[in-house]
Amino acid sequence: MEDDAPMDFGESNKDIEVAPALIAVHPNQESVAVAVGSDLRVFDVHGDCAISLVDDSSKGSLHKDSIRAIRYGASGKLLVSAGDDKLVKIWSTESWRCVSTVCSEKRVTAVAITNDGLYVCFADKFGVVWVVDLDGTDGQAVAKKKAAQLLSHYCSIITSLEFSPDGKFIVSADRDFKIRVTVFPNKPLDGAHEIQSFCLGHTEFVSCLAFVCTLEYPQGFLVSGGGDSTVRLWDIYSGSLLDTYEVGGKAGLLESNGREEECCSVITDLCTNQDGTLVAVAVQGLQEIILLKCSLSARSISLAKVVPIGGETFIPTRLEVSFSTGLLWMVTGVSNLRGFEYPSLARVRVISGLKSNADFLQNEPFVLEDNEIPGGRKLLEKLQGSISFDEKVFMAAAEALKTAMSNLLIKKQYSVEKREFRKKTRNDRKIKQ
């Protein structure tokens, strides 16, 4: 009965290792980080200079395989990077040194830092979330830390980790359509055992999570995006689904070239703005950002505006809004792209005008020209590694990412014949009655 045994690690496609480019923005936009493959690039916007990261614990490259998650802490003092090399690196944003390297047993898929900056949590590919105590990581000394198990999604890939705005809950999303809300305990090293709710409603993998919170609703509501082309709004206390926005009807781009079968308008990332009025959504295959209006009093999300991203093919792989400036930072890119001169590619673009609802209503959001981006050409040179690109690479990158994502997260559908065959070859069918 191996085929039904509860082992399902989704790691069968060893050959597909392309990883999307990632972006993270310092909470006050003092710096911006981009990860492509094993390369972590940081630009100091404040000081207007490229940063060289220093890691005394490792010679040569900092990460040895694709980075899958990067994230600043709420205070901006720390940056965490982690991924396929099973290392979680914690960087001081003051010294830009690696202050701690944590070894994971498995590849790391998501990271989060508690709002008080005391703990880093990371999820591995087997569905376990780990917690590391940052005490003693004062930004100077290099510390080797050990992680403790916090919670587990049974043998599922965790795609996203998020703390609630009040820090009471840790939310984890997985490939099995599930979002789990767990009370974050006083002593996290003993594990987080009390589940507050499950947010169930997605009909495909959940790819991204973000909190919306406002002055009236400081505890916040959760928004999630998934492989089912929907963005959903949840009450995490009860796990109730409050509203669903379906992108499916909108995303016609890839369909027009007759490849409807493959098209699934996966939501690749979403993020919210500071006053909790807008959710910016990136969709696989769409060269635009969908802005949803979020009304917490009406418990609803609805389409506010679609911002097209003109110019060369630019299908964002990750998004982050800077709360302080209201700029939406977007990256597209991929590592290990085969058949091209430059196997890794990253392109950064920025949309302005998402600071608040008032800002949004007054100033139409628009895509900045490269020279209008804070940090300008210098920033782009550092984060992208180059200034100009061959158009063909972007299309190839978008295709490669789509394939990699569906291989990783979409469950195999067996045909009837195949299913029958699998049944016949199972050895648990001889039942004694």
Binding site: D4, P6, T182, H193, G201, S229, S256, E260, Q433
Partner: protein, 252 residues
């Protein structure tokens, strides 16, 4: 909810149903891990199919009656059958991974219903992987009893993660059990018995029943005698190891 935001189920270009929506909506649930259906959430389980006498018409799906007991890895269903007449007003469900075994239990229950009119209406079975989909079936605090009788031992260290009782899975069981709810475990494998006890003992949301409480609980006597596996062990004169724990409020 979202029906009027254009109809995305049909392709604009061909007018045919899009495969992905067809796949997702044709069946009550698309969460297809291997090839059994999985409800999207507990609200999506139609209990009128399982307990027709308790849910005479399907618009009473929202009736307040809920499943209270779950027998995890129920095997051939012996426990459910014993419990059925002991608690005739409580709904109970068996969860079993093997499809042929599940089919057998279904037939066994139908036959009992036919042979004993009015009885065995409160028991049913679903084929599912309980290690992944418990939250898809039960709401928070819904259950008052959970049973784990003679679970597969998975001896090898690297297979311990396959055991149905583990510290992490107990988090989910604590979630679906109401405060005061009871988890019953028994095995003939001493090592597994120690393991299950150790997990329950170290979990902050469970406490052991006292000897008096165990003696007063009529269900405890069934643990070693009601199931097929239990009877086999008894026939061979095997020893059994049980651990019975109560769901408590965690101290914060």
């Amino acid at each position: 909810m979202l029906e009027n935001k254009a109809n995305p189920t049909f392709s604009k270009s061909t007018g045919l149903p899009r495969k992905r929506f067809y796949r997702a909506r044709a069946h009550s649930n698309p969460l297809s891990d291997s090839h059994f259906p999985i409800p999207i959430s507990p609200h999506h389980v139609d209990y009128s199919l399982h307990y027709p006498q308790f849910f005479p018409s399907s618009d009473q799906v929202h009736s307040t009656k809920k499943v209270e007991f779950a027998d995890i890895g129920c095997g051939f269903g012996g426990l459910l059958i014993s419990l059925s007449t002991l608690f005739p007003e409580s709904l109970m469900i068996g969860m079993e991974l093997r499809d042929k075994v599940t089919e057998y239990v279904k037939e066994r229950i139908s036959a009992l219903r036919v042979a004993n009119p009015g009885q065995y209406q409160n028991i049913s079975v679903v084929r599912t992987n309980s290690m992944k989909y418990i939250p898809n079936y039960f709401e928070k605090g819904q259950l008052s009893k959970m049973f784990f009788l003679f679970p597969d031992p998975h001896f090898k260290e690297k297979n311990h993660r396959r055991r149905v009782i583990s510290l992490h899975l107990l988090d989910e069981y604590a979630y679906v059990l109401g405060v005061g709810g009871i988890i019953y475990t028994i095995t003939d494998v001493e090592e597994l018995g120690d393991w299950m006890k150790a997990c329950l003992e170290s979990h902050p949301m469970f406490e052991a029943l006292t000897v008096e409480e165990l003696e007063a609980d009529p269900v405890v006597k069934l643990l070693s005698s009601a199931t097929e596996e239990g009877q086999k062990v008894a026939r061979n004169g095997g020893q059994t190891f049980q651990a019975v724990y109560r769901r408590i409020q965690p101290s914060s």
